[in-house]
């Protein structure tokens, strides 16, 4: 964690050095099972004591709604679409992903800039331009690329929500109907992902196997990125009660993140008894 992806150009007001969490990206085509695997990973990681934030595309407070509305109309051009996605991504990066990383969360993100770049490229956008636009993106700690053949995708998509207009690339007029268009579009998307896999160091996961097998594969590889999990304090109940009061001592915060030397140096003399408001980073503990 720490650097920006493509050209290191950065975001005004954001220091990537202070990001303690891990950014784990799950990439792959429509229907490959990304959201199922993210759900499973989240349960598993939380059980191990890691705080997890799961995020996905077009859900930004700023641009999510506007983008979804634009996709329902008939006038969304390819450059506009590419930049609308970039706006949505930047908003999520600055307001969701970076704060969570600062707070030491594991951020699991369903798709990342690679999907956005692939979508732009299959629509004929200049590759240098789109990579430069995303020069502000953070470099993930791991990028898992779930890969399955288009035959498998078709079956999975049909069993779920059916073919989606954009996920079938209907704007590109690739086939006589949604099925043909989907197959062609997803093949092109996979072509882009396969190319990027080498350039950006994707870990390829064979997603044609069963959910359990894919999950086992992912777990093994995610484990490599994790710093030793901090176990919940033995008196979890008492701790939760303390947290629920809305205040916690700096000492107990320090105990919680013992591997974090940053706070140790900034936390003041030991034994100092300063009350501070409950931090957002602890809030998710209360929800479990």
């Amino acid at each position: 964690m720490g650097q920006f992806t493509f050209n290191n150009q950065g975001i005004p007001g954001v220091d990537p050095q202070g990001l303690r969490g891990k950014l784990i990206v799950i990439e792959g085509t429509d229907g490959v099972g990304r959201s199922s695997q993210i759900w499973l990973l989240k349960q598993w990681l939380e059980t191990k004591g890691h705080a997890v934030r799961a995020t996905r595309m077009t859900r930004s407070v700023l641009a999510g709604k506007g983008l979804r509305r634009a996709k329902k109309g008939t006038t969304l051009g390819r450059v506009t679409m590419a930049l609308f996605y970039a706006t949505d991504f930047a908003d999520r990066l600055e307001h969701e992903i970076i704060p969570a990383l600062k707070a030491g969360f594991i951020v699991l993100t369903d798709r990342y800039v690679y999907t956005l770049i692939a979508r732009a490229l299959v629509r004929g956008i200049d590759p240098d331009w789109i990579r430069e636009v995303y020069g502000f993106a953070l470099k993930p700690d791991r990028i898992f690329y779930l890969r399955a053949g288009v035959d498998d995708l078709v079956q999975r998509v049909l069993q779920q929500d059916g073919f989606d207009y954009w996920e079938s690339g209907m704007d590109l007029h690739l086939g006589d109907d949604m099925y043909e268009s989907f197959v062609e579009y997803q093949n092109r998307m996979m072509g882009q992902f396969d190319k990027m896999a080498g350039d950006y160091g994707f870990k390829v996961i064979d997603a044609s196997h069963s959910i359990d097998e894919v999950f086992a594969d992912l777990k093994a590889q995610v484990s490599e990125v994790l710093t030793p999990a901090r176990p919940l304090p033995s008196d979890s109940l008492g701790r939760l009660k303390q947290l629920r009061n809305g205040y916690t001592t700096r000492d107990s915060l320090r105990a919680e993140s013992s591997e974090n030397s940053l706070r140790d140096t900034n936390g003041g003399p030991s034994g100092e008894h300063i009350f501070e408001p409950l931090r957002d980073e602890i809030r998710p503990l209360l929800r479990r």
């Binding site: 150009q9 005004p12 700023l62 450059v79 930049l83 609308f84 706006t87 930047a90 200049d126």
Partner: protein, 240 residues
């Protein structure tokens, strides 16, 4: 991609730039009148006006959701939509396109907010290079005194209040617009902007503009349909 840099479209693209209060919009509307009366088909567009995007921008500003990055990106999105629908098609059709503010507004404002200068230039790599870009140069004090008499107060983002330059809105506006002027001055040479002294009488500025535009219009289409076009716009205005 069919974009970027100098275009070979039969139309012409004239744009005006300058800080608020420089009088550029007045000058552009006078130019518009003249071009139409001279028989050109004219399409006019403003900054931040894409029907797909402007709602998002307006809400983002109202709720103060925008950071320098998202401010930059949402305006680029808006501009992309306008480029794809309101700028490139009329230029291909041989029209004269007028734009009140263009990519240089983004370069000036975003850099004044701390966005990387090279990055924001790359971001607008899809833009069509204008036939002529006019920059209305005005002293900051003069612009501020025009704004004070002209309308109520200074707006939050126009004053750069989001980057926390000063507690007082007018002071923030002064600092922020000062930075924007610095960026504009840097761009005059970089992009070959034509400088108009905005302290001159309105008529004098307009005649300088028309002279430059007239030269750039040599060989441009005129429309045989201007009567139809003009009548329609008169009817539309009277119905509104």
């Amino acid at each position: 991609m069919e974009m970027s840099g100098k275009h070979n479209f039969p139309g012409r693209l004239f744009i005006v730039e300058g800080i608020d209060g420089s009088g550029k919009s007045t000058q552009l509307s006078l130019l518009h009148r003249w071009l139409e009366s001279d028989g050109h088909a004219v399409v006019f567009g403003e900054w931040n006006s894409s029907p797909l995007v402007k709602k998002v921008t307006r809400r983002g500003k109202k709720k103060k959701l925008l950071t320098p990055m998202t401010f930059s990106l949402i305006h680029a999105t808006d501009f992309a939509d306008r480029t794809e629908h309101q700028i490139i098609p009329p230029l291909k059709a041989g029209s004269v396109v007028l734009a009140d503010r263009y990519i240089y507004t983004a370069f000036a404002r975003d850099v004044a907010r701390g966005v990387n200068r090279e990055w924001v230039r790359g971001l607008y790599g899809f833009a069509v290079k204008p036939t002529v870009g006019f920059y209305f140069r005005i002293a900051l004090d003069e612009a501020i005194s025009r704004l004070r008499t002209g309308r109520a107060g200074f707006k939050f983002y126009e004053a750069g209040a989001d980057v926390g330059l000063a507690d007082d809105l007018e002071e923030s506006f002064r600092i922020f617009q000062g930075r924007i002027i610095e960026e504009y001055e840097r761009m005059v040479e970089e992009f070959g902007l034509v400088v108009i002294d905005a302290s001159l009488p309105i008529e004098e500025q307009q005649s300088q503009m028309r002279k430059v535009v007239a030269e750039a219009l040599v060989g441009a289409h005129k429309t045989r349909n201007s009567q139809w076009v003009n009548l329609r716009s008169i009817i539309r205005e009277s119905l509104e």
